[in-house]
Point group: C2
Chain length 351, copies 2
């Protein structure tokens, strides 16, 4: 058909499999193995369906005010969107309008280059070192902006906060975004740095540590001025996104700080234990500060282990991409789930 000539053609993203089968041990999409806070359940039960006839509060005030209390930042320093994917894409659109390339690592979250292409933003990827660490000096040069996932995905490795600060300080004439999707599992957050650096935006998500991948809430923190730019762009083309149910769920989750601490602590404990066991089985990996471990086996190919696990109904993530095609990304499940995986691997690798 001739009308197809002017259609945007893309490479569709292939998300981690979401098997319908409930017997599957799902360690492939970095979801929480724990349910959201009981307060979330209550918030849904108490939701007022009648208000849905009206457009939602564009400012998501209930959620933003709860975030303000939780993070000790004024409300005007906080922006919320439909998951951190939505927030990050809006950040690219708002902040990266230079002719110079935006910089990010060659191995990192797979949507950065997609959003850059989407908005016709020039970019340059900087190679991680052989241990999969971000090379700080690569970002101390002229550029059109910087985005760094910290801890990085899918490697799990953390860049020290001092190095992040050095990058932010050096790049004071452009915007630096720190994507902290996994920060709550024991890494250091750069949110505090936004007090001192007006060019810094820190993005977080409710998907991992708050056990709410399903609800789609992402957050950006920064000084009022830089957050205002983001709001202006967002409201200029889509005023209403978060619905009142989403807003209520997000606010309820934030109110249950004890539960949040409990489940993140459990995941960290599981991760540290699994690290030891994987090491004994001949795996190597960067020292993950996330809810996953990105591991390579000393002798067995990652693709083989991936298939063998899948045959056992244990799903992990395998990326057929340069430099990482011999690695598996293993999300932390419950202790019981991890034990099932480890027991199988012991037999499979040593058998």
């Amino acid at each position: 058909m001739k009308w197809e000539d002017n259609i945007r053609k893309v490479v569709p993203y292939v998300p981690g499999e979401q098997p319908k089968n409930n017997d599957v041990i799902k360690l492939n999409t970095n979801e929480s193995p724990y349910a959201p806070s009981p307060l979330v359940k209550e918030a849904i039960k108490n939701a007022d369906a009648d208000i849905l006839r009206k457009y939602p509060d564009t400012n998501a005030t209930l959620l933003v005010s709860e975030l303000s209390k939780t993070y000790g930042l004024d409300e005007d320093r906080i922006f919320v969107g439909i998951g951190s994917d939505d927030v990050l894409a809006l950040c690219f659109l708002t902040y990266f309008n230079s002719d110079k390339p935006v910089l990010f690592p060659d191995i990192t979250y797979s949507f950065y280059d997609v959003w850059a292409d989407l908005y016709k933003i020039p970019y340059k990827t900087m190679a991680l070192d052989d241990d999969f660490n971000i090379v700080k000096s690569d970002y101390l040069c002229d550029n059109g902006g910087v985005i760094i996932a910290n801890p990085n995905a899918p490697t799990g490795a953390q860049m020290p906060l001092d190095d992040i600060e050095e990058i932010v300080a050096f790049n004071k004439d452009r915007v630096v975004i720190v994507d902290e999707a996994y920060v709550d599992f024991g890494a250091e957050s750069a949110v505090g740095l936004t007090d001192r650096y007006d060019n810094l935006v820190v993005v977080q998500t409710f998907s991992k540590s708050r056990a709410l991948a399903g609800i789609r809430i992402g957050v950006a923190f920064g000084q009022k001025k830089i957050i205002d730019y983001l709001k202006d762009v967002k409201f200029s083309f889509n005023s209403y996104t978060l619905n009142p149910l989403t807003i209520a769920v997000g606010a309820a989750a934030l109110k249950d700080d004890a539960y949040f601490k409990k489940i993140t602590k459990k995941t960290v404990a599981t991760r540290e234990r699994v690290k030891k066991e994987l090491k004994d089985l001949g795996f190597t990996f960067a020292d993950s500060k996330t809810n996953f471990i990105f591991a390579k086996h000393e002798s067995k190919a990652a693709s083989d282990i991936f298939e063998a696990l899948k045959a056992q109904n244990i799903y992990v993530r395998y990326f057929k991409k340069p430099r990482i095609d011999n690695y598996l990304r293993i999300s932390m499940g419950t202790d019981e789930q991890m034990d099932k995986m480890l027991t199988f691997l012991k037999g499979y690798l040593n058998g």
Copy 2:
């Protein structure tokens, strides 16, 4: 600050006021005056909070399958997004990639030019005639695509379906989008035409006739091939948007067809009655097939009437824009609300 040089600067959209005061008669944003279906309330009550720990179903299968039953179209001919704003913006991005200008009326939904600018799409606006009708022949020429709101907003006027078909047929080599946000209030839908025209996409919303402005659901209908392009683009940069609560609410609303028919019928009856009363008061307007009336008074300036109504806590919409700055857009409320407005206007205009 130097980093501000590369920030995208925009004119923020000013949505209709959402006063916190509950005494206000709110006729300014085309929301339904009626609550959503009781089945919506039930769906929220019965929602399973625990599934929120997982990423949602990217295909929103529950909602799409209900839409498929309601509209008699195969599931693969249906796309859903976060309100029709999200769906329409994605349509612009996907379908309008020509060097030739996309065509739409000079007076129409205010986001069309915003999305065109956002994605750097060339466009040309075609003047409505003096009675605010779309001039069919304007769209029978070479172009990069066509988008028509039918009924049009904020005029409320309908283009006959035969004329829509002629435009779709003439433009077989590019995509034609028909935005039917208001179609359920007595206008003719072009959804049936998608059986015969592979270049046609029809967009609708749950915000008006289904009394769910708050939930944010928009829908696109078309043949499988054209809908697939939309899905590919969407999934390429943001895989998860509609959350399970949204999906459940949308599906529940569709199941209650009797309620949907009841509230749209009530709104149509109110509108026809209000038309007569407004005419008697000296207003003129296009023959609206929507849930609003776009009216001009024979002697009193729209801006004055707007302010006078506001002082009575009755909010209507006034656009300070060329050609329409002497018009008011009045959303249909309940009969009781409309009577309060009419009683005031009688005194104000004849007093």
